[in-house]
């Protein structure tokens, strides 16, 4: 046991208590996360206690330059009071996050949504199973590292072992009772003997035999000590205390000979009709997709394209916030995507995902005349269009429908409809399961 163990337990407890992944994607605060680190709020990490209602309580502040006038707003009270030292059980109570990397996120999402996307690509050479050299804490019994378990157990035994006969002899010194012997054994001799053991040993010694030696010196002169190694050689190891925490399982080292690369193109309609709610829905759908694919592949790159009637490339930070005034021409984005992909991410070397989102509004005929041919031209593992339409009453919004009709059950084109946060995970499932159903190999 010890702090290492406490930390492991904390992580386990934290994992159990973190916000449910699906709930997090649908309603959680995605803004706390980074691209390479998903931060999921942990629901309650502090134990409950009888406490005051925070709002009813109010508080005391200290002005830095002068004192605020009654009536001045003072901002949210700060949790904690700037001192964490020497004060167990009293920590500031703000958010805690469970941090997972994209790999874990992808695994969790697979599990939760029942997905099983196998990252593939033409140039990827098969995984090779290496020697059984890596170790983990759990695994099939056959892979248990028994040698290690035995060694750890033996170490433990050695640490707990002591010369029993010698301590028994000390109990035979005239005038020495268990208390005295315990004191002597623990402080003078540093023997890991428990008080209970001494008391039991003392009870077992017949009363007549309790005064064999006059003094400690006499006992030492007459009794020969044996050290642990000698005793083990003489008596064998007897019983080795095995502990669950010493168990390690071997598993094969995974050798990969080639990196699997993925490029994800995110396209978003930023025209005037895309209001706050729609923008948020796009972010809720795209961000987990990015994490997921990043978790699935060794090397992930992202291209963000914003468009109204024209298209331009933007940084990720700006992607979900931009709003412009102009009309909408979705093909402009696909033209740019095609150009960027062919330039830097040849289909021969890269897995490609092209995700577009908008409210299905497009300039007349653009979908049929330009977008669909472009989608057919751009080689990709998956094309997806996410229609976000919180109001649900746009008249000329037919892009998603047209794409869906044209490609039908095609296994590399997905269309998802997300009209409220609750639809997000289903949309993600729709998109990711489309590729899953394809048998490429």
């Amino acid at each position: 046991m010890g702090l290492k163990d406490d930390l492991d337990r904390y992580r386990e407890v934290g994992e159990q208590r973190r916000q449910d992944l699906e709930e997090f994607i649908q309603y959680g605060d995605l803004g706390e996360s980074r691209r390479d680190e998903v931060r999921i709020p942990i629901k309650i990490i502090d134990l409950p206690e009888f406490a005051y209602d925070q709002r009813e309580m109010g508080g005391v502040g200290q002005g830095q330059d002068g004192t605020p006038e009654p009536g001045d707003p003072v901002g949210e009270p700060e949790p904690g009071d700037g001192d964490e030292e020497g004060d167990p059980g009293e920590e500031g109570g703000d958010h805690e996050y469970y941090e997972m990397d994209p790999e874990e996120f992808a695994e969790e999402l697979d599990e939760q949504l029942g997905l099983d996307l196998d990252p593939k690509g033409k140039k990827v050479i098969e995984e090779v199973e290496g020697d059984f050299t890596d170790i983990t804490r759990t695994g099939p019994t056959g892979t248990l590292d028994f040698e290690r378990l035995f060694k750890e157990g033996l170490k433990r035994k050695l640490a707990m072992d002591f010369d029993r006969d010698y301590v028994r002899a000390a109990l035979q010194i005239d005038g020495w009772g268990p208390a005295r012997v315990f004191e002597w054994a623990r402080s003078d001799e540093n023997l890991p003997v428990s008080r209970v053991w001494i008391e039991n040993a003392y009870d077992e010694i017949p009363a007549d035999d309790r005064t064999v030696y006059e003094s400690l010196d006499e006992m030492e002169a007459n009794v020969e000590r044996t050290d642990t190694a000698q005793r083990i050689r003489r008596e064998g190891v007897d019983q080795v205390p095995f502990r669950r925490e010493d168990e390690r399982y071997r598993y094969p080292e995974v050798v990969e000979e080639r990196e699997r690369n993925v490029v994800v193109v995110n396209i978003r309609d930023v025209s005037g009709s895309m209001r706050q709610k729609k923008r948020e829905l796009v972010e809720r759908t795209f961000t987990p997709l990015d994490w997921y694919l990043q978790g699935k592949y060794d090397n992930a790159e992202f291209v963000y394209i914003a468009h109204d009637a024209d298209a331009w490339e933007v940084e990720r930070e700006d992607f979900f916030g931009i709003r412009s005034g102009g009309g909408t021409r979705i093909s402009s984005a696909y033209e740019l995507a095609l150009e960027r992909l062919d330039e830097e991410y040849p289909w021969a070397d890269w897995n490609r995902y092209v995700f577009a989102a908008g409210d299905s509004e497009n300039s007349s005929n653009d979908t049929e005349k330009n977008v669909i041919p472009l989608m057919e031209r751009i080689d990709a593992n998956l094309h997806a269009y996410v229609e976000t339409q919180p109001s649900g009453n746009a008249i000329n919004a037919t892009h998603a429908e047209e794409v869906e009709n044209h490609f039908g059950d095609d296994d590399n084109v997905a269309v998802a409809y997300v009209t409220r946060p609750a639809d997000v995970t289903e949309g993600i499932y729709e998109i990711l399961s489309t590729e899953e159903s394809d048998d490429y190999e």
Binding site: A51, G86, P88
Partner: protein, 665 residues
């Protein structure tokens, strides 16, 4: 074979030997009486571990240490928070210093630790647990016991952990104002009292009809029955909920579908955690005082007595600003400010008394008559104590009470380095004069600032008001040690609640810019509400009293006559966090084994009232209703109670609300 780290650590520890001895010597000269302190130098990881463990090396296995370690690490990593030291309350105390501290940090930390140790040794609230807690051994015994339970093959580890979680939810529900009393088997075996009908018992006594008629008549029997109804269990409401559960708690057995006795290990765990709650309670109850006390003496030793060399002083100032600079209400700075305020006002009271005993000075003409600059000049420390000239030691009078004759002798022989440690030349009296607070630049306004009310109050109890002919004569009699003397008295008997209650004044609140704030229902945000010291005090009291937690007591252990547990919340105008209260009740059920209920008073705000209040620029009045939450192991039942059922819970004479009656628009 020693690892390089061990060697570094040892070297660091050796190089601190000098400062440690010097700091202890200085602390004693300043009138402190610390426990002996063992100093250890530890690396960054060990330091974080010690902090997570509350200052000890070995604690029972639990995820919360992992959590605080994790937080501690992130805090120092990202927020620049820095761990300097941790010291535990033990005799001898153990202090752990971080190896990476700069030399001036180490010195500062040592002075800080000596003052903490003095506080542990002398504050009576710490004596409530034990004057000789042998804490490290106790906590490590606890750790061993709990580890044994966890390793026992008959007990599931997860079960032990869950049980610990349940108990920890109630760790503040002890009676910290009473000395710790262990509960052993005999206390616990105290049977639940059964109250039969007296008339049946009378029948058993085999009394004659006449006696029964005359002595135990029907009327008497009736009164007995009434009394019986009011005989409660516990007899008085019990604040130590953990003790009550230790004595009478059970657990619910799913298979048997009834409450069964707690197992031995469960009872042991409960008592272990209860003991630790009592052990740590004084630290929670005296945080402001204790941290302020340590900061006060640290700053006196480091800055005023140049315990840090000149080259170390800049980093020392940086260290101080890190400790005192963190935002919000900071116990270090509030404590330090209050101690300095006490020192100044006590010194001022003493000086003013002397001045009022001077011919021609009365409380009425005080501000007009007294030349405050002249007073301050007269109060300046004697050159004998103000500075030490190591070259001119022959002229220093050995018999002066302010001079340590022994040190003087040694210094003359060259055995004491007065360049480095000038304070070694002085006794307590000498140092008190040397560091007299009222003449320091920051405090020079104190005497002039005294209010008429206070002057009047002081003079009311004075006689012999013409003892001195001149202020020179009066001030010559001033005792420079009164401030420190008073401070030591206070550190012995007070806790944070009484400390703030007694010493927080309007003058203090104005000087330090303290104010209160409240959540506004009408505007939906927090607003400053008052700078009146009574209001600031109220809010601080709320945060400090009972660990800043609502007071919950066991009202009835035989509630509904079915051995259910009834808890009551002593309502002081501030409502409970109901969701948390429910979560906690679920835990209490695990320790009681039978249904548990909580009575409280809830404040609700009517939407219409909020709207009206907003328009009129006022705050809505809450409606207070009695409420009972009852948890039977599967679900909650909430009922509104008649006011008469909760009337006794509502405190009528306290009001923590600081919102002004009328908002000025």
């Amino acid at each position: 074979m020693k690892s390089p780290d061990d060697i570094r650590m040892q070297r660091e520890a050796q190089s601190l030997q000098g400062p440690v001895e010097a700091a202890n010597d200085l602390a004693q000269r300043l009138g402190l009486e610390p426990y002996d302190v063992n100093y250890w130098v530890v690396d960054y990881d060990d330091m974080n571990e010690l902090i997570a463990y509350g200052g000890f090396q070995s604690r029972y296995p639990h995820w919360r240490w992992g959590m605080s370690y994790d937080r501690q690490q992130k805090q120092s990593q990202f927020l620049g928070g820095k761990a300097f030291e941790i010291v535990n309350n033990d005799n001898p105390a153990h202090a752990f210093l971080q190896m990476s501290n700069s030399r001036s940090d180490q010195k500062a930390v040592i002075t800080h630790v000596e003052a903490h140790s003095d506080f542990f040794a002398n504050n009576e609230w710490f004596g409530m647990f034990s004057r000789d807690p042998d804490a490290a051994a106790m906590l490590s015994r606890h750790a061993e016991s709990i580890e044994e339970f966890m390793q026992d093959t008959d007990i599931k580890r997860a079960e032990v952990e869950r049980f610990i979680d349940h108990v920890l939810c109630l760790e503040d529900n002890i009676d910290q104002y009473q000395p710790y009393e262990p509960i052993d088997e005999t206390d616990a075996a105290e049977a639940d009292i059964e109250y039969g009908d007296v008339s049946e018992e009378l029948g058993d006594l085999d009394l004659s009809e006449e006696v029964q008629q005359q002595v135990f008549d029907d009327e008497w029997l009736e009164t007995q029955r009434e009394d019986d109804d009011t005989v409660r269990f516990p007899i008085e409401p019990e604040k130590d909920i953990l003790a009550f559960l230790r004595k009478h708690g059970k657990q619910y057995d799913e298979d048997a579908e009834k409450a069964v006795e707690l197992t031995d290990w469960q009872q042991d765990v409960l008592e272990i955690l209860r003991t630790e709650a009592y052990y740590f309670a004084p630290q929670k109850m005296t945080k402001i005082m204790n941290e302020g006390w340590a900061s006060y003496w640290e700053s006196l030793m480091m800055a005023d007595e140049n315990f840090a060399g000149a080259d170390e002083f800049i980093t020392y100032a940086d260290h101080m600003s890190k400790v005192l600079g963190s935002g919000g209400m900071n116990p270090y700075s509030l404590g330090l400010e209050l101690w300095e305020y006490i020192e100044n006002t006590e010194n001022r009271r003493h000086v003013v008394e002397a001045l009022l005993c001077t011919e021609g000075i009365t409380w009425r003409n005080f501000h007009d008559t007294v030349d405050f600059e002249a007073v301050l000049d007269l109060l300046e420390p004697d050159p004998l104590v103000a500075a030490v000239d190591a070259e001119a030691l022959e002229e220093v009078p050995a018999e002066d009470p302010r001079i340590d004759a022994e040190s003087l002798e040694a210094a003359r022989d060259g055995d004491v380095n007065l360049e480095k440690y000038p304070w070694k030349l002085f006794t307590y009296e000498g140092l008190a004069e040397r560091h007299y607070s009222l003449v320091k630049p920051a405090n020079r306004g104190y005497i002039a600032r005294i209010s008429m009310e206070e002057l009047e109050r002081i003079s009311r109890y004075m006689f012999d008001t013409e003892r001195y002919a001149t202020i020179e004569e009066a001030l010559a009699d001033v005792d420079y040690t009164v401030g420190w003397h008073r401070m030591r008295e206070i550190r012995e008997s007070h806790n944070d609640v009484t400390f703030v209650d007694e010493f927080l004044t309007q003058e203090f609140v104005d000087e330090q810019n303290y104010f209160t704030y409240e959540y506004m229902r009408s505007s939906g945000d927090y607003r400053a509400t008052s700078t009146d010291y009574e209001d600031v005090k109220k809010k601080l009291m709320l945060q400090l009293t009972n660990f800043g937690k609502p007071t919950i007591v066991v009202a009835d252990g035989n509630y509904r006559n079915r051995n259910e547990l009834l808890l009551e919340h002593r309502y002081n105008g501030v409502a409970l966090d109901i969701q948390q209260a429910k979560d906690t009740l679920e835990r209490v059920f695990q320790l009681w084994g039978r249904p548990v209920a909580l009575r409280t008073i809830e404040t609700t705000y009517d939407d219409h009232d909020i709207e009206v209040a907003r328009r009129r620029d006022r705050e809505p009045e809450p409606e207070e209703t009695g409420r009972e939450l009852r948890y039977d192991g599967t679900e909650f039942e909430e009922v509104e109670l008649d006011w008469s059922a909760v009337d006794h819970l509502a405190a009528t004479d306290i009001d923590y609300d600081t919102k002004p009656d009328e908002w000025l628009a």
